[in-house]
């Protein structure tokens, strides 16, 4: 099967792959194995970056670098324009109503910690926070820390063996004591696309605000926070083809306005006295210290890149790849594939009867294939399914059908190596 997709802007898949320098270099393996092509199937952990993003970071540091906001000089103005310009790009990218509803953080994890620590500071013993059993540790541990501090209780929407939410339990789990709901949009283990529309609707019927962990959805589907009507939405730049060290917390103005600051320091204040301080307006109230302007430069460029290919085109291609991968992977002997049967995202976790996921990942690496193995920061979900570790292949629009075929071939070879190798 050959790879001949053309994206909306007329770029072929092979032309798109050329935008990603890391895919153009051979990978040097250990022990004198000849360099191989990289088959990068670990996008759910972090995405590779197009040249456009790398160049934007480069350009920032070679031409524009300065601290922001308080500098009246020309570089300060440029750096501020870069930083606030990316904020506007993100606003438009997720269709937020106001630019000041976009708070920069370092990653999804910080976004959620900010929220738990600030919004959650008013929770009381007896208050219930509803999460799900499939949450990434980043949308679980911050609430556990909060629960220890405030005495609030955590409850969980259960998952079934397919890694899907048992939403028939939602009505019982949402009570008059529920003060907050946090749920991941797309599972980084199962590829499940959760019915967040339903969850938001039911929570809102009881006036409960909802956080969507969009770390895995934001890179692969068009997000419209106003249409979703979610109250908070968190995601990471590095999973969205942008640089590391920059993330976002979207929050509705009314909530952000009412929340106390998270960290204290420069930029987030209005007036500081030794005896106490007042806070700056949104969004800066939540942005203490020198921000990652270089990261913002890259993230802005990543959004431009996505817009240039168009999300529709990216989704169409990724849907096709996902279906193809699902079909091929589920046909492999001795492989158990997790996640829903029907509609799903391009995240495939699996185990093999004859070898441990670590050994699978190590074997595949020998052929340049990068997959992840482990608990994927979702230990509670793993425990529920009684699996301690899975291998995971995750897709992006820079992958190809040939790469999937190669993965399948080498999974088969791994099975042979470990069952017949002795």
């Amino acid at each position: 099967m050959n790879d001949n997709w053309v994206f909306h802007n007329g770029k072929s898949i092979s032309r798109v792959r050329e935008d990603f320098p890391i895919l153009q270099h051979k990978l040097n393996l250990k022990g004198g194995i000849a360099p191989v092509d990289l088959v990068y199937l670990d996008t759910a952990a972090t995405a590779q970056k197009p040249l456009q993003v790398i160049d934007a970071v480069n350009r920032y540091y070679t031409r524009q670098n300065s601290n922001v906001h308080r500098a009246l000089h020309t570089l300060g103005e440029e750096a501020t324009a870069v930083y606030e310009g990316t904020r506007e790009k993100i606003r438009s990218f997720i269709n937020a109503l106001h630019r000041h509803e976009i708070v920069f953080t370092k990653n999804t994890t910080e976004s959620i910690n900010l929220l738990a620590s600030s919004y959650g500071s008013s929770f009381k013993p007896g208050d219930e926070v509803l999460l799900t059993e499939m949450e990434h540790h980043s949308n679980l541990v911050p609430w556990q820390l909060l629960s220890e501090k405030t005495g609030c209780t955590l409850k969980f929407i259960p998952i079934d063996q397919n890694g899907e939410l048992e939403l028939d339990q939602l009505d019982q789990l949402l009570t008059e004591r529920t003060v907050f709901v946090g749920v991941m949009h797309v599972s980084n283990v199962f590829g499940t696309i959760n019915n967040i529309e339903l969850i938001i609707k039911k929570a809102h019927a009881l006036n409960i605000p909802v956080l969507i962990d969009g770390a895995q959805s934001s890179p692969h589907m068009q997000i419209d926070v106003q249409a979703l009507d979610c109250d908070f939405f968190a995601f990471s730049g590095h999973k969205l083809y942008g640089p590391m060290g920059i993330g976002v917390l979207y929050g509705k103005e009314e909530y952000l306005e009412s929340m106390p600051p998270f960290m204290g320091g420069g930029d987030m204040i209005r007036s500081v006295k030794l005896t106490g301080s007042t806070w700056n307006e949104l969004p800066w109230k939540f942005e203490a210290g020198t921000p990652n302007v270089g990261g913002a430069a890259g993230l802005g460029s990543a959004i431009d890149y996505i817009n240039e290919l168009s999300f529709e085109s990216i989704c169409n291609y990724e849907d096709m790849l996902t279906e193809y991968a699902g079909k091929l992977l589920s046909g492999i002997k001795n492989i158990k594939l997790y996640g829903p049967d029907g509609d799903r995202a391009g995240v495939f976790s699996f185990t093999h009867d004859d070898l441990h996921p670590h050994d699978m990942a190590q074997f595949l690496d020998r052929f340049g294939i990068a997959v992840r193995a482990g608990h994927h920061c979702a230990q509670p979900a793993m425990r529920k399914l009684k699996v301690s570790s899975m291998a995971r292949a995750s897709l992006a629009f820079y992958n190809t059908r040939s790469e999937i075929e190669y993965l399948v071939e080498k999974i088969n070879a791994a099975g042979e190596y470990f069952s017949n190798g002795i």
Binding site: L29, K30, G31, G32, I33, L355, H356, P357, H358, D359, Q362, F363, R366, A373, G374, H375, Q379, M382, S388, S389, Y417, F418, G421, I422
Partner: protein, 139 residues
Amino acid sequence: MAFDDLYQEIILDHAKHPRNKENLDFISDDEIHENPTCGDSVKIAVDFSKDGKLERVRFDGDGCAISTSSASMMTEIVEGKSKEAVLNMIKSFILIMRNEDESSLEDWGDLIALEGVIKYPLRVKCATLPWHALENALL
């Protein structure tokens, strides 16, 4: 090549047919030893003989070929040794694996097969997991 250095026959053999591996459900989950980077876990049970030597060490758990074979070979080599001797062995083994001690595993029987792991820093934790667990069980 390095990959076959890592998965030498002896390792694959111990991984497929681990020695001293038993169901240790009687040990509470709180005493389980986990590798936080991957979720692998191991439990260790130690029987002492009357003269204070390790009579038998058994393990249970869910691990990759590296950690399972390491556990299997470990249970064999420590048998009959004093607690102090074993604690010293654990220290040495961990240092060697982390490449912080350049001694060889030459005199360690089958365990020499694990020397290939040193080149794979992210797998070192796999190889040392059961040793940490044994240390915990002895202290």
